[in-house]
Amino acid sequence: MKRLLTGLACLAVALFLAIALGEQPIPPRAVMAALLYPDEAPVQHVFIVHTLRLPRAVLAALVGAALGVAGTITQAVMRNPLAEPGLLGINGGAALAALAIMLWLPGTSATLVPAAALAGALAAATAIYALSWRGGIGPQRVILIGLGCGAFMGAGTSFLSAFGEVTAVQRAMLWLSGSFSGSGWRAVLGVALTLAPLLALAWIFARVLDLLAMDEAVARGLGLRVQAARAAMVAIGALLCGASVAAAGPVGFIGLMAPHLARRITGPTHAALIPAAALAGALLLLLADVAGQNVIAPNAIPAGIMAALMGAPFFAWLMWKGRHDG
């Protein structure tokens, strides 16, 4: 309980930072005023806080939480601590579908891109699952098939970006590197409504994840229908990840980092691990977005790239430690 409260406090501090920092910094007192008494605060502060920064920060936290949980699920199902939800082909499929829409139907992109990304993500996840099936799916085969499908879709993506109109490609690259710029309350509401039931489901099935992370024979001995459970968990993970990609573009490394951080705090039991991973993911992606907006201001680095910049050293440390054998 104490740990949960500490985590929530950290998240609150990060949210506060995200609101206060930016191209036009707002002093802490003024942030509080704009948050608590919007009617009396200066109009430009209220606009910056309520219309520009708060929805963006909330969206980053939501997407981060979803990615953290998706990563936890992926690592449990694949029984591999280095597995990442991107390996399920979700990022590749979403990127391909979204890029196609952005380049071919430039006018309608704002509304269609999230839908296309979600459809692409789910199609890719389904294809990888089907291709990995040989009387059941095995973790190692899924990883390899995911890599192959990812490369295939990557070739499609580079085909589109090599022949598209160059300014449209540049805009698409911004989306492809995972960015929260220009997100408003409508996006937040849509994402929250999609993610909430999925996060709840993941938490409800925490026991199943505990069993799946064990040796297959043990799980079966304890009465788990392993293949059905794997399929259900992969579906939840794919939906979580697909919804995040639809909201913010493909963001890597959060799904790899958050579960590890959470595991250090709560241990391997998923009932505690899933909320902790959600918190850790929210915190990480929020900090990545804040850092990206402020490191080389006025230029903004997309959150996805910042997450990769933070994630790579983390990953290096993880592999060096050598405790985790793949």
Binding site: N80, L82, A83, E84, G86, L87, L131, S132, R134, G138, P139, Q140, R141, I143, L144, I145, L147, G148, C149, A151, F152, G154, A155, G156, S158, F159, S161, A162, V166, T167, V169, Q170, M173, L174, L176, S177, G252, F253, L256, N299, I301, P302, G304, I305, A308, L309, G311, A312, F315, A316, M319, W320, K321, G322, R323, H324, D325, G326
Partner: protein
Amino acid sequence: MSPPRLALWLAGLAAACLLLALWSLGVGSLSLSPARVWAALVAETPSREALVITTVRAPRVMAALAVGAALASAGAIMQRILRNPLAEPGLLGINAGAAFAMVLTAVLTGTAPRGTLIPAAMAGAAAASVLVWALGSAGRRGATPLRLVLAGVIVASFLVSLTQALLIFNLAALDGTRLWTAGSLAGIQPQELASVLPWIAAGLLAALAALPGLEIMGLEDDAARGLGIDPARWRLIAAAIVVLLTGGAVALAGPLAFLGLIVPHAIRLASGAGFRALLPLCALGGAALTLAADTLPRALAGTDIPVGITLALIGAPIFLWLARRQGVPG
């Protein structure tokens, strides 16, 4: 593999390269049959056709052959040394390292990446291979195939997002590099080819010279030591050869994936060759495949699709088939 059979295979693949080259030299807005190409090449009086062939088309054909030979050989060497059927420059992040170093240099200095930035390509390839090996082999069980591939994929995805970060802020560099980052041989210049070719040739010759040692490195370390081979030293030699081959190929054609993976597997399956015969066969087979993949879209549809994309569209299904077929338990 018996010597006559090996000679037959080598001759067959070399002939395939030659025929493909004659065909490819005739493909383009001035369409020529292979016989006309041959006639133009051997004619004593230089014709307009001969001029087109030697100045515009020949550099591209030679680049395709060189890049294919380099990457397929690099893949064969890596699979042997790492005792890992999935090893290849693309999956293990070496391509991405070279490409990132070149894009970085191109953005900083305002030059075009292709052909001119060989030191950057070599340095990037070397740094990425050291990093992936260090990460993949740390730990109790060492560099298991899956672990190494995961390390390669994660390093590669990190480098690719860094490359993206560089290009987002620089429209001119994006326009100048996007064809090359997809892996393309279009519009290659003779001087670009000339500046890269010596490196690839050096890598190929070194690989041939090192064949006996590389073959022994396919055994367990203890067995290799018993045969008088120092594993650490030979791993370094192999890495240097792979860096020469990969860095050169990426400098010319961009990061081509899958070539190093599928060619050795296909040749091994088809011919049953052992490693010593495999390496030269792979060089010829990779050259032929790359040339075919580069020419086919232009010949069939008249559109110039980057060869990296064609190769990935061919290679990814073969990779999937390999992973399903032999593969991996569990």
